[in-house]
Amino acid sequence: MADKEKRRSGATPPGMPEGNATKSDSDREFLSRAGVGELLRGAILKMVEARSDDPIGFLADHFCNLASVSETGTAGYSDVDHFSDGPLSAGAQEQQHLNRALWHLRLAHHSQRSAFSNNVRVAYDLLNLTGPLRRSGEVPQGPDVSCTDSPTEGGGGGGGVKGGLYTQTLQCLCSEGGVPASTSAPLLQRLHCQDHEAVPYDIFRHGVLTCAVFSDYIRQAQRLYAEVCCPDEGPASRALCLSVLGTLKEALETSQGCEANVCDNSNMKVNSCLEGNVKALCYLEASAKISPYRLGQAMAGAQARGPGGNMDAKEFENAAAELFITRVKVVS
């Protein structure tokens, strides 16, 4: 703006302040006529909600999405008609929704609870093909979808995400998080829903959160193994690995009580502050257990007891995964 005014100052001598005033007025008028304010406000609000690690990338994607939506004429997901005569096949559309939902889920780390919850909500609504955003309190006409295994028809029935889509989301989350398919398979066994089932929001959130935490956990386990094992010397000794795993197990047990509470109380906003504090305490204790000192102690103890063969990275990872997965509630 300053540059423009400098350029203009040749034409409007300093004794005529109206010239400058008119210029910024006309700018303001242009901006309000074009709706720039609302456009940017909406973008900034979304950005702050999502708390992405890459705000510029987020804005680029946000505006590109907006542009393609307005250019192709699809008016969002509340338009029932476009399922029958949309230009894309149902499968391709689903894939598109899945990609966008995954993009939303990647934006914020799961430890940023409120931003992550927002993003999960947005992703859920994206995947929920059956109509406009359903908030709590609205009862769909079909079978009661608060029970998890109502066998409704996919795509047209109750107000939930298709089971198949849900499972696919979880699979993508795990693989993007760096977890090999074989390691995540047992977890997905516990979390998945049948293709024909409609998945309500709570289950969706629980599944997504569990996968996100699991990815972090597996990465941490991989790092732990790298600490314990020197690559030049071959796989790490079994005894050493077992004691590290033992420490990990203790840490999980400490935090387990809190995790269970979190899952049950996820809808009770009244307790959320209390829950936050309790969780913080648990994580502190858990991380103390897994601290280098404790680990060092465990390792020293293992070396004294003597090794019984070696354990390679894959085995370690699977064992660590098992510790985690046994704690996951099965979705029934």
Partner: protein
């Protein structure tokens, strides 16, 4: 970037917004929009913002912009260095040596008001003396320019510290400039350049003392600086530190290069056939985009550089 602390208390919104220069880009987007109201309204507003932020994300946004814009954020600085490399990599390939003024002309093709002073500082690092018409290789020059262009505030402060140490001040009394304005630092540094040139040949500075002062500077410095470990590593390799050789070692240091993230390593500096395709696409894009101020001549200039052997 620390956006979350360990106990999940969220960073307040205004802090989050201030962290990544996002507001700067939003402001610039609106300013550009106002400067080209007619064109962009026909183009479509949403599409305009989408293109603007996509180009920022892809580091294509600095071409033909004014100097104040390209130096405004670390991302812009790195992007500009990268664009310069992409546009003129052929010079490196052909092995031509150019003078300071020639490099400056090349820079001005991409940024019309790129200052001579910045080019001279980079040249000084390469040449280790105040001779302006020495010829330099493309890679030497660009790595030196990268260092000075990306960390100007830090280098200015360091020069003052170095001069104080040379003058015999003890490290405890060396003034660590933190909030002095950049322009003031520049003018002081400029005054001392000729003094420094004489001392350069005779004296050096004790590396551990300099390291100590640099540590103190980094502790309080509001601007970005090269990673301390890299600087300590360079200082640890010598018994006496001379300012420009220190800077040249920093310029050539691979970790610093990777931290900035704009240029490939020296080994790969000239290798990249895809870049030629990208460059053609870039030129085509620029010549139709409304944001280029001098699209005709600049595009012509770029094309002329391509087979440098044919120039007379």
């Amino acid at each position: 970037m620390t956006r979350v602390n360990r106990f999940n208390s969220p960073v307040p919104d205004h802090e989050y917004l201030a962290d990544g220069d996002v507001l700067f880009y939003l402001r610039d987007a609106v300013t550009q929009l106002l400067d080209h109201q007619q064109e962009y309204t026909t183009f479509g507003l949403i599409r305009y913002f989408a293109e603007y932020f996509s180009s920022v994300k892809n580091s294509n946004h600095v071409l033909f912009r004014e100097y104040n814009y390209i130096r405004a954020t670390p991302h812009n600085r790195a992007s500009f260095i990268r664009v310069f490399w992409r546009c003129y990599r052929q010079i490196g390939k052909s092995g031509d040596l150019l003078s300071t003024l020639e490099y400056r002309s090349l820079l001005q093709l991409l940024c019309p008001d790129f200052p001579l002073e910045m080019v001279q500082r980079a040249a000084r690092i390469v040449q280790m003396e105040d001779v302006v018409d020495c010829l330099m290789s493309f890679s030497d020059f660009l790595y030196a320019l990268q260092l000075h262009f990306y960390y100007p505030e830090f280098l200015n402060s360091m020069l003052l510290i170095y001069q104080d140490l040379l003058a015999g001040k003890s490290p405890n009394t060396v003034i660590v400039p933190t909030s002095t304005s950049i322009d003031l630092l520049r003018s002081v540094a400029a005054e001392n350049i000729s003094k420094e040139k004489q001392q350069q040949q005779q004296d050096g500075v004790d590396p551990s003392t300099l390291a100590q002062c640099i540590d103190a500077l980094c502790d309080r410095f509001k601007h970005s600086h090269p990673p301390r470990s890299c600087m300590r590593e360079v200082l640890g390799q010598t018994n006496k530190v001379y300012y420009y050789s220190f800077l040249m070692s920093l310029a050539k240091h691979e970790s610093i290069n990777q931290t900035i993230g704009a240029l490939p390593s020296r080994a790969e500096f000239l290798i990249d056939p895809e870049m030629d395709q990208d460059l053609d696409k870039l030129i085509a894009q620029i010549s139709v985009s409304p944001s280029s101020n001098s699209s005709g001549s600049a595009v012509g200039g770029l094309k002329e550089e391509h087979p440098p052997q044919e120039e007379d």
